[in-house]
Structure formats: C-alpha cells, structure tokens
C-alpha cells in the first residue's frame, strides 16, 4: 500500500518539528500564488525542507460570512421582526448583533490560516478554541470546491479537503478565491507546485495505476506528463432532462416545498383562506384531473431540480488520473477524486429510469460517504448506453459493467416471495376485517386484492435483479427492483467479510455476504446467496484469508469443529 519512498524520510509525519508550528509566520504573507512560488523556490535552494508561508482565506469572505450567518439566523431575524411589529419602542437593541457578527467574521479571517509543509497540510483556526488540524498529503482523498450563488458573485469557493471516511476528517477552507482553490487542489492531488513537487504521489508511487486495476495502456497514458491535459469523459446533454421526472427527486422536492409553503401559510392566517379556496377548487375537479395536475407539478419540479443541480455537468479525467466533476446552475460544485481512492462504481437504475432506458452512475470511493450531498455523482440520469460507456472508461472491465450475473437460486426466490406475500396478506386481512367489522367504505375492499398481486410481481422482479459476479479485478453485486443498483467493487477495496444468516436464512441454506470496505457505503451486500457460494466468493477474492481457517466446510461448520475454549 502507501509505502514511503526512500528519500521521503524527512517528510514523514512523526518528524515534524513541533517548534515550527509555534513560530510566527514570515512577515510577507502574500496571497498571490506566483509570489509564493518565488519565495518557496528560494527556500528550497537553501535547505532540504522549505519553510512554506502560511496562507490565508480570501479577504472577500468577510462579505460572505455575515451573509451566511444572516441566512442561518433567518428564522430568528424574522421572529424579531414579527415581535417588533407589535411594539412601538424605538430602541433597536438587536442591532448590536450586526457588529458582533462582523467582528466574528473578521476574527475568523485573522485566525484561519493554512499551509503545506513537510508533506502535510496544516490548518489553524479558532476564535475562542484554537485548533490546529494537520493531515498528511498522501491521505488526501477528495477535494471539493463549492460556490453558492453569493460566492460566485465574488469569485470565491469553499474548499473541502477530505482525508478519511468520516466527517471529522475534513478540512474546510471557507472561502478562497476560485483560482486559489484550484491551485491548492492541483497541489494536493497532482503534486504540482514547489511545496509538494518532491513528494510521492497519493499512492506512494507517482500514480500506481495497477492498484485500481487500470490496464497498462491506460497507465502509460496517465504518466504522459502534463502536456496531455484533461480528457473530457462526459458533458451534459440538455436533452437528458427528460429523465428527470422519472426519479424520486421530483416527488421529494414537491413534498418538501409543499410542507414549507403550508407551514409558511399557517403563520399568516389570511393567506390560509386563499389556500383553502384553492384546495376546494382543486378538490371539485374529477380525480384524474387531480392526478394529472400532480404529475405535471411533480415533473416540472423534478426538471427544475435536475437543471439546478446538474446544469453544465462535466466529467473530466486529468492526466494524472484523478476524476473531476463540475456542475450546478446557481451553486456550482467541483469535486475532484483522487483516482487511487476509487474503489468502484455504482450503476443505479430505479424503475422509472429503467423503463425509459436510462441509468445514472455514482462513484464508490474512500473519502466520500454515500449519503453526503451527492458529490459522488459521475453521471446524472442519462441514456443507458452513454452511462455504460462511461462506466467502461472508469472500470475497464466489460464483464463487470454489463456482463451477465449469477442468479441466486430457488431459495432466494422463495424468500423474496415470502417476504413480499406475508406482510401484504396480513395487511389485506387486517384492513378487510377492519372494514367489515366497523362498516368502513366498501369501495376500499376493491382496492385490496391487487395488492398481493403487485407484491408478487415486485418480488419476482427483485429476484431477477438479484445477482453477483466475480471478475478478475472486481466483485459485482446487484439488487432491488424499484431501486435497482449494480455495484462494481474493486477486489482490492474489500477489507473484510461478514456472513450474516438470520434464523430463516439458516433454514433455507442461504446467507447474506457483506463485503466491508472503506469506500462509499462502507459495506456492500450480496443478498441470499447459497452458503457454499458465499464462501466460494470469499475464497476466490481473498484466498489467503480463508485458507488460514482450514477448509470452509470445517472452519465454518459448528458441529464438526472442536469447541474453542472462549470462556463463558
């Protein structure tokens, strides 16, 4: 793994001189990158470890910071205004808050500084509690540049440097000038710039392509030095917006907006009446017009959300192999992912998209958690062939990306059916008896019989979706019906294995095989595989691991093994 190269010894973390950190920064604290380069060059000529300048956030954050505080405190501000509207006292004591907020912003600007030194990035901050965060450069996994709309007006960007899988391990620089942020990113990920040029790349070797399973041809292209430039892998086609209504995002945003609006209206009683009359007029229409209206509203919002977040989506791969996405209409986001941290991809095909021949693609990487604000998108909902092509560029393994998968057999199918039928049948029975017992609306009874039928259809589709495959470099697992996804995980990214068997799974001889990993969701599951198959997968991917515990049958069979005295 990440082995320090000989000669990088003085750069190791343990040898950072503590006194250096308390030393005052050199007087010339220029933020101009060019200027800094010169100084560092001189320093490098003098000694083996150059003393780099502390760098600061951009001064314009002083404008952004109060604005952000204001927005965050908006409910409180509104509350004050509402409360003030009633009273007629002339004192505006709440205005004291304004200079306080400004002062805090200024203090933050004064106290926050960062530098790259000794193969580490150091971030000092804190107004009341001083905090020094250091991270080794070879631990940097992703770099995010986010610009909200007011950042963009001022040409600023918030830089987030992620060094681990948890939120604690992030360095946030809010905000830098966009150009500065990009320079920093280039320094961190591509070892460009004086302070970092001599350091080993993120993987130890400059870019160890073999580690992520890129073929040799790719690797040689990656090492082709700076001139090649970035390769554009994908650019958003505005026509793809047609896939937007087919995902759940539209529905979610409708619910969110409706909730927000109705809450807002409840505060102001007068408009409530207006809403009520509106609801009445909608209610007066026939049901299919209502449904149509709903569909239209949801679709429009979905398209809106799609445009907002994916506008100008561009995926590029730099000559050093890191992946780089850029998107957003109002809030622009740039995410750079060190390719040595990429552990695989995730192809999503929710039912709506699947029926329309669409897909979407996410990356599985360490340093980006699956649930975090969607920086792991590699491709927005788009036509299947586009997405597949893209997936093949990133994972050069056709079998893994779209090859046939092994199905999990009869037991898995029976389990799918049982799990679909038992709860729905119970529900139907309960609802039916309730209706008959308490004279409920009999029309509801008609709606009941289709439920189990739908459940069976979904269950069968879920079984069809279930599958796995082991290729020379990857483990592929697919699951789900309504929200089907195919995860292609690099073998090298698998840390450990867990075999889970519930009571019913033991009875039907199947197990859920969980591959734990440091990337993405942290674990990826292969559901309901036959037990022997589960061990066969482990044996194939990590042969030395299982071999230590005798043969699978003996190692894992409780009845045959002598009891290990593990105390009671």
């Amino acid at each position: 793994m990440t082995e320090h190269q000989p000669g990088s010894g003085p750069l190791a973390a343990e040898q950072t001189d503590q006194s250096e950190q308390s030393e005052p920064a050199p007087p010339a604290r220029s933020t101009d990158p060019g200027d800094r380069v010169d100084q560092a060059d001189q320093a490098e000529a003098m000694g083996p470890v150059p003393e780099t300048d502390w760098r600061r956030l951009d001064g314009r954050m002083l404008l952004v910071n109060p604005l952000e505080t204001l927005i965050r405190a908006l409910p409180a501000v509104l509350a004050i205004f509402v409360a003030r509207a009633g009273s007629d006292s002339g004192q505006r004591w709440e205005l004291i808050a304004v200079p306080v907020i400004l002062a805090f912003g200024a203090l933050r600007w004064l106290t926050t500084r960062y530098r790259i030194q000794d193969g580490q990035i150091e971030l000092r901050r804190g107004v009341i509690t001083k905090q020094v965060t250091t991270a080794r450069l070879d631990k940097v996994r992703t770099v995010d540049l986010t610009s909200k709309i007011y950042h963009r007006v001022l040409g600023l960007a918030k830089v987030e440097i992620s060094t681990g899988s948890s939120a604690k391990e992030r360095l946030v620089l809010d905000s830098l000038r966009v150009g500065q942020g990009r320079t920093l990113r280039a320094e961190l990920l591509h070892r460009r710039g004086p302070a970092v040029a001599g350091l080993p790349g993120p993987t130890g070797a400059p870019v160890d392509a073999s580690e992520v399973g890129l073929p040799a041809s790719d690797a040689s292209r990656l090492d082709d030095a700076g001139e090649v430039g970035d390769v554009e892998l994908l650019r958003l086609d505005p026509g793809w917006v047609r896939y937007a209504p087919l995902t759940l995002t539209g529905l979610v945003s409708t619910v969110a907006i409706f909730g927000f609006v109705s809450q807002g209206l409840r505060t102001f009683g007068d408009e409530g009446k207006l809403l009520k009359s509106g609801v009445d007029s909608v209610g007066a229409l026939t049901w299919w017009v209502d449904a149509l209206l709903l569909v239209i509203v949801v679709s429009v919002l979905a398209v809106f959300a799609y445009v907002l977040s994916f506008w100008g989506f561009r995926l590029t791969r730099s000559h050093r192999g890191s992946l780089h996405t850029r998107r957003g209409l109002l809030t622009s986001r740039e995410t750079s992912i060190d390719h040595a941290r990429v552990r695989g991809i995730r192809l999503d095909e929710p039912i709506g998209l699947r029926l329309a021949g669409g897909r979407r693609l996410k990356v599985v990487t360490t340093g980006l958690r699956a649930e975090r604000g969607g920086s792991d998108w590699l491709c927005p909902p788009a036509p299947a062939d586009v997405v597949t092509d893209l997936a093949r560029t990133i994972v050069p393994d056709d079998d893994a990306v779209f090859g046939r998968l092994h199905q999990h057999g009869g037991a898995a199918r029976r389990r799918r059916l049982a799990r679909a039928l038992v709860p729905t049948s119970l529900l139907v029975l309960v609802v039916a008896t309730a209706i008959l017992r308490w004279d409920g609306p009999l029309t509801l009874l008609i709606a009941l019989p289709p439920l189990p039928v739908i459940a069976v259809v979904v269950a069968l589709d879920r079984y069809r979706g279930l599958g796995h495959r082991v290729t020379p470099d990857y483990l592929v697992t697919r699951q789900g019906s309504l929200d089907r996804r195919r995860v292609v995980l690099a073998r090298s990214g698998v840390i450990g294995w867990t075999v889970v068997q519930s009571f019913f799974q033991r009875r039907s001889g199947v197990a859920t095989l969980v591959a734990t990993t440091a990337a993405g969701q942290q674990h990826y599951d292969v559901f309901d595989v036959p037990l022997e198959r589960a061990y066969a997968i482990i044996a194939e991917i990590s042969p030395d691991l299982l071999a230590q515990f005798q043969t699978p049958e003996r190692a894992f069979d409780t009845s045959e093994r002598p009891q290990v005295p593990d105390a009671q």
């Binding site: 793994m1 990440t2 082995e3 320090h4 070879d138 631990k139 899988s165 948890s166 941290r341 360490t366 990214g493 840390i495 450990g496 294995w497 867990t498 075999v499 889970v500 068997q501 519930s502 009571f503 033991r506 969980v514 734990t516 990993t517 440091a518 990337a519 969701q521 942290q522 674990h523 482990i538 990590s542 030395d544 691991l545 299982l546 230590q548 515990f549 190692a555 894992f556 409780t558 093994r561 290990v564 593990d566 105390a567 009671q568």
Partner: protein, 145 residues
Amino acid sequence: MWTVEALFGVAWLFAGLVVWWILDDNPSRTAQWVVGGLLLVFAVTYVAIMPRWRYRVHRWEATASAIYTQTGWIKQERRIAPLSRVQTVDLERGPIAQLFTLASVTVTTASAAGPIKVHGLDRAVAQELVEGLTAAAVADTGDAT
C-alpha cells in the same frame, strides 16, 4: 456473563411493569397480571436459552495475519478481516464482565461497517490477543484502506 446480563435486561422489563402497576388508576389489575405472566414465561425461556445458544455459536480465531469471529444466536454473523487493514484495537471491561474477570476485544478496520468484536474472553487471553493484534497491525505499513 450473558446469563447475568440477560437477568439485568429482564429486570428492566419487570421494573417497567411495576411502574405501570403503580401509575395505572384502573382498580382492576387483570391486565398487569396477564402481561406479567407472559413476561415471566418469556423471561425464563430467554434467560435459559439465549446464553447457552450464544455460547455454542460464539467462536473466534486469530492467526498471524487475520482474525475471524462467529457471533449471534438467532441472527448469526461470521466476520473475517485481514490484520493488515486493522486500525484500532480496543479492550473493554464492563461492570459485569469485571465480576467474572472477563473482557471484550474490539478490532476496528477502515470500514465503518466492519468492527469485529470478540466477547467474553478471559482477561489474560484478551490482553494477549490485544498485544498480538497491535503488533501485527503496527508491522504493516500503509493506510489500511
């Protein structure tokens, strides 16, 4: 140890029942008797079966480069992880475990999903295991992802 822990867990349920008994204004106590009876049956079977079952299932093994555990009773899990990916090793002794001079060892890997826990080890054995694991983890360089 599990028996004692199970007894404590069950005791909480009965404590809940007693609170209900006191707070309920309804003069009839039938509901409490019925629930109490069911609870008693459940508690006795749980305390009698769970620890034995778990003890039969639980197993662990550590070699020079990997660790393996088998845990659970109704839902069983077998976890396996190479020591080269180990990040931290914790030794833990709860109050009840202290009584029996036992300890648990938790081995964390870089994945948030895969901590491996070895329950109810004799303290000396646990200590030895921790030292062995730590030595193995230190020996391997790299960032364990």
